[in-house]
């Protein structure tokens, strides 16, 4: 299992990008003690049989990883959500894309920490390629939106250490502004 909820989110986004998604949306909403996450991609999608296989820890894609017997990305997430009695949905259509939705109670005693979202966003946004990613993060009524193309344009590139350091500063400022405003003084 992964250590934080951010790790699960990053794992799903990595799946989306590996499936060739050109436009991926990530929505993360924190409200009334619940965290709701939705990741929708325009990748190659899966048939119902492939979805069943993706949810089975002993199922994996022959084309993605030949000779492998396990695939643990989604099963880890499902196991975590089941232990928290949360909600999980996956919808996929071949040629159209996949969307994954989950909702977990953050107050549950077994709920993992959310983790460092600013750092997770930086890693999601700097994954190589020319695809677009739109991230919307909200906490109660406050929110911010990130668009990969806008950040790329502002920084010139997303791969050099210099750009990634500036991106970190930017993302941390977005996240910390959200937290101070969201918590009653």
């Amino acid at each position: 299992m992964h250590y934080t909820i951010s790790d699960y989110i990053q794992d799903i986004v990595e799946n989306a990008l590996e499936a060739g998604s050109v436009y991926t949306t990530v929505e993360i909403q924190e409200q009334d003690g619940f965290l709701t996450v939705r990741v929708a991609d325009t990748g190659k999608g899966m048939s119902p049989e492939e979805v069943t296989k993706a949810l089975d820890p002993y199922g994996t894609s022959e084309s993605k990883h030949p000779n492998r017997k396990v695939g643990l990305g989604l099963p880890f997430l499902v196991q975590c959500i089941e232990s928290l009695k949360g909600e999980f949905h996956i919808h996929s259509e071949p040629g159209k894309g996949t969307s994954v939705y989950f909702r977990v109670p953050l107050t549950h005693i077994d709920a993992p920490p959310i983790g460092n979202l600013a750092e997770t966003f930086r890693q999601i946004l700097t994954y190589p390629g020319t695809h677009e990613i739109r991230i919307r993060r909200s906490r109660d009524k406050d929110s911010y939106t990130l668009l990969r193309s806008e950040l790329w344009e502002a920084l010139g590139d997303l791969e050099s250490v210099g750009s990634q350091a500036l991106l970190k500063e930017y993302l941390e400022s977005q996240e910390s502004a959200l937290i101070t405003e969201g918590v009653p003084q």
Partner: protein, 130 residues
Amino acid sequence: MAKMTLEELKKLRESKKRELEKREITGKDIEIIVGMATCGIAAGAKQTLSAFLNELEAQNLSNVLVRQTGCMGYCYAEPTVEIRMPGMPDIIYGKVDPETAVKIVRKHILGKVLINDHILDKPAADIMKK
């Protein structure tokens, strides 16, 4: 911390760029690739990636490219990291925790000495991008 706007981010980049131009540019041909699949993330690749970025920034190696990739097929030795740079063989290091990441920057990249305990393999032909 005040919320930064995209305009401010652009300005910050311009000022950093000017600062960089004054310094001798190093690290332009150096590439670090970190495996970030389920296995990598579960083994702490996110912390490893952060450690690389922090150490490279601290050593003024702002031009180094730090990339992510999927699973390299060495799930048992995650986090795995591939280093490509002139004057050194292309190499994959295994079990790279944040401490080892710092060691790689200081010894492999700056000192041009291999870190023998963590050498795993040379990159497989099918994941090499020419």
